[in-house]
């Protein structure tokens, strides 16, 4: 590749890139777009600036092109809206100069009915002003009043504190007295009781209390040992409770056996009861038989009748 070609490619390529970037920028910024100019009015020009954005629903749709003062003292604001965004500007659109506390001011367009007719470019709607700074000041004023009250109270408190006849000085005086008193005594108890005899009694009582505590400790050790021993006798391997447990298990086994025996006895009893019923039936059968035999004998006697002394040997 020749040197001329390389240089030509470099210049051509870079120029094309540069021009393409600039064209893209120009198209993005709507340089080649047709614009519509609307005129707004305001009582004051405060807050307006050439180049200020015109915003609809948070999107830039145009900007302020010029500002001028008319013969009636009204500020006329010319805004340029690109062709693709002019649909948002309607006859019922309202224009608000919004001045945030932080950030740059902007003209906000609010359109309630997008089906209403487009705004006539010859009409001059008025711009209302929303001022965050003034709102903030209005909100801050009551807070400032409260702060002033707090400052006043603080001042009063400080004055009371600094008053030599005030409560704080009295409390401090008392504290000083207590400190002095404490410094002259051997202990807090001495300062509290004042009487030396009582203090001695208190000391003796405390010593006795110490002895009592030692005795109680000793007793507790003994009780502890006893408890250990009891525990061994009750719960140890040779203790009472395991043996009782064995006995109980044996008793349960035996009771289970006894239960079976009782069941058998019960059965025998019911069998015997059933046998008794059979004996009664037999007896009634025998009775019936005897009655029949008696009746038969009577009938035979009636038949025979000739015998004077009939004898029958019963089995």
């Amino acid at each position: 590749m020749s040197r001329d070609l390389k240089v030509g490619l470099f210049i051509g390529g870079t120029v094309i890139l540069l021009v393409a970037a600039l064209l893209y920028l120009a198209m993005g910024k709507g340089v080649f777009e047709k614009t519509h100019t609307f005129t707004l009015s305001s009582r004051s020009g405060d807050g307006f600036a050439v180049g200020m954005p015109v915003v609809f629903s948070g999107f830039d749709i145009g900007k302020v092109a010029a500002l001028e003062l008319n013969d009636e003292g009204l500020v006329l604001i010319q805004i340029k809206i690109s062709d693709r965004h002019v649909k948002w500007i309607r006859s019922d659109s309202s224009f608000i100069l919004y001045r945030p506390l932080i950030g740059s001011a902007q003209i906000v367009v609010n359109t309630v009915n997008l089906k209403s007719p487009p705004l006539d470019e010859s009409k001059i709607p008025q711009v209302s002003i929303v001022n965050d700074i003034n709102d903030a000041i209005a909100r801050i004023e009551p807070v400032l009043e409260k702060v002033a009250q707090i400052a006043e109270h603080t001042e009063r408190l400080t004055r009371n504190l600094s008053d030599p006849k005030g409560d704080l000085y009295r409390v401090l005086g008392n504290a000083e007295k207590i400190s002095t008193n404490l410094a002259s005594k051997k202990s807090l108890a001495e300062m509290a009781i004042s009487d030396e005899e009582s203090l001695r009694s208190l000391n003796e009582s405390l010593k006795k209390l110490k002895d009592i505590t030692t005795n109680v400790d000793r007793l507790l050790v003994k009780v502890d040992k006893m408890a250990d021993r009891t525990d061994e006798q009750l719960y140890g391997s040779e203790g009472a409770l395991p043996q009782v447990n064995v006995i109980l298990k044996d008793m349960i086994r035996k009771l289970q056996k006894l239960d079976k025996t009782i069941d058998n006895i019960d059965k025998i009893s019911s069998d015997a009861s059933a046998g008794t019923k059979d004996l009664q039936l037999l007896r009634s059968d025998i009775d019936d038989l005897l009655a029949s035999l008696t009746e038969m004998v009577k009938k035979m006697e009636d038949l025979v009748g000739t015998r004077k002394t009939p004898e029958f040997k019963t089995p």
Partner: protein, 261 residues
């Protein structure tokens, strides 16, 4: 005491005349750029060679440096913006600081270090070897043949390389805005479009042209001040380079002042 004031006055006069001489020299070269007769075939060949040496030869290294330096710079700037809660100013920082200020500055520094020093030395050596005298003897216009192609090359190279550097930085911005802010390409483009002013770009391009003009003209001027002794070469080269860097700073300050007003 008198000698001190005398000395000071003498230095001020010398400085003033040197400055006036440089401005007059710049004017003469500048006017030649717009003269049709200047663009002879010999001059065009020199111009192509100069652009080749200054821009085409350095292009891969320049792009690599732009990508590395630009990514580092954008990464740092974006991280700082995020830390300080200034995310809303990404567009303004990208266009106002990185594209219109740092990209031309980075380009001009690289080209000055590589080409201005070379031009300065080349002119000084030609002067020492009496090549310039020889050209004049053959009635060859030194300004048309030697100076104009180098100065035009300086203007073209700085403007084009600076534009390339800006495009590379903006491309790095896409990557870093996604990594650091989780920003999509659409949002990034919208932010750039919103915060770009054509006036800023025009100022940046004009500034690049002025940079290119002076970072080649000043070395030529100082190179031609060499005597016929070899020892004068390092002297004029060092003086020339110091003056080039002073000129870069002055132009940078003037461009900032233009933005302010």
């Amino acid at each position: 005491m008198i000698s001190f004031w005398e000395n000071l006055g003498h230095r001020a006069t010398v400085l003033f005349w040197a400055f006036a001489d440089t401005i007059a020299f710049s004017g003469r070269v500048f006017l030649r750029i717009f003269r049709r007769k200047t663009y002879s075939s010999a001059m065009r060949e020199v111009l192509v060679n100069q652009i080749y040496f200054t821009s085409v030869q350095i292009l891969p290294v320049f792009l690599l440096v732009s990508v590395l330096f630009g990514s580092l710079l954008i990464g740092i700037v974006f991280t700082l913006l995020k830390e300080f809660g200034l995310t809303d100013f990404i567009g303004h920082v990208l266009m106002g600081l990185i594209v219109t200020e740092l990209a031309p500055f980075l380009t001009v520094l690289l080209i000055t270090l590589r080409s201005s020093a070379a031009i300065n030395t080349e002119m000084a050596v030609m002067k020492v070897n009496r090549e310039i005298k020889t050209l004049e003897t053959f009635r060859i216009d030194v300004i048309d043949y030697l100076l104009a192609p180098r100065v035009i090359n300086g203007i073209i190279s700085i403007v084009l390389l600076s534009s390339l550097c800006s495009i590379v930085l903006l491309a790095s911005g896409i990557l870093f805005s996604r990594l650091i802010f989780g920003m999509g390409m659409d949002v990034y483009t919208k932010i750039l479009l919103t915060s770009t002013d054509f006036s800023d770009i025009v100022i940046a391009l004009v500034k690049c042209g002025i940079f290119g003009f002076f970072i080649t003209l000043i070395p030529i001027r100082f190179g031609l001040q060499a005597s016929h002794e070899l020892t004068s070469i390092p002297v004029v080269v060092s003086r020339g380079m110091v003056n080039v860097f002073s000129a870069i700073l002055i132009i940078e300050v003037l461009s900032l002042m233009t933005k302010l007003f």
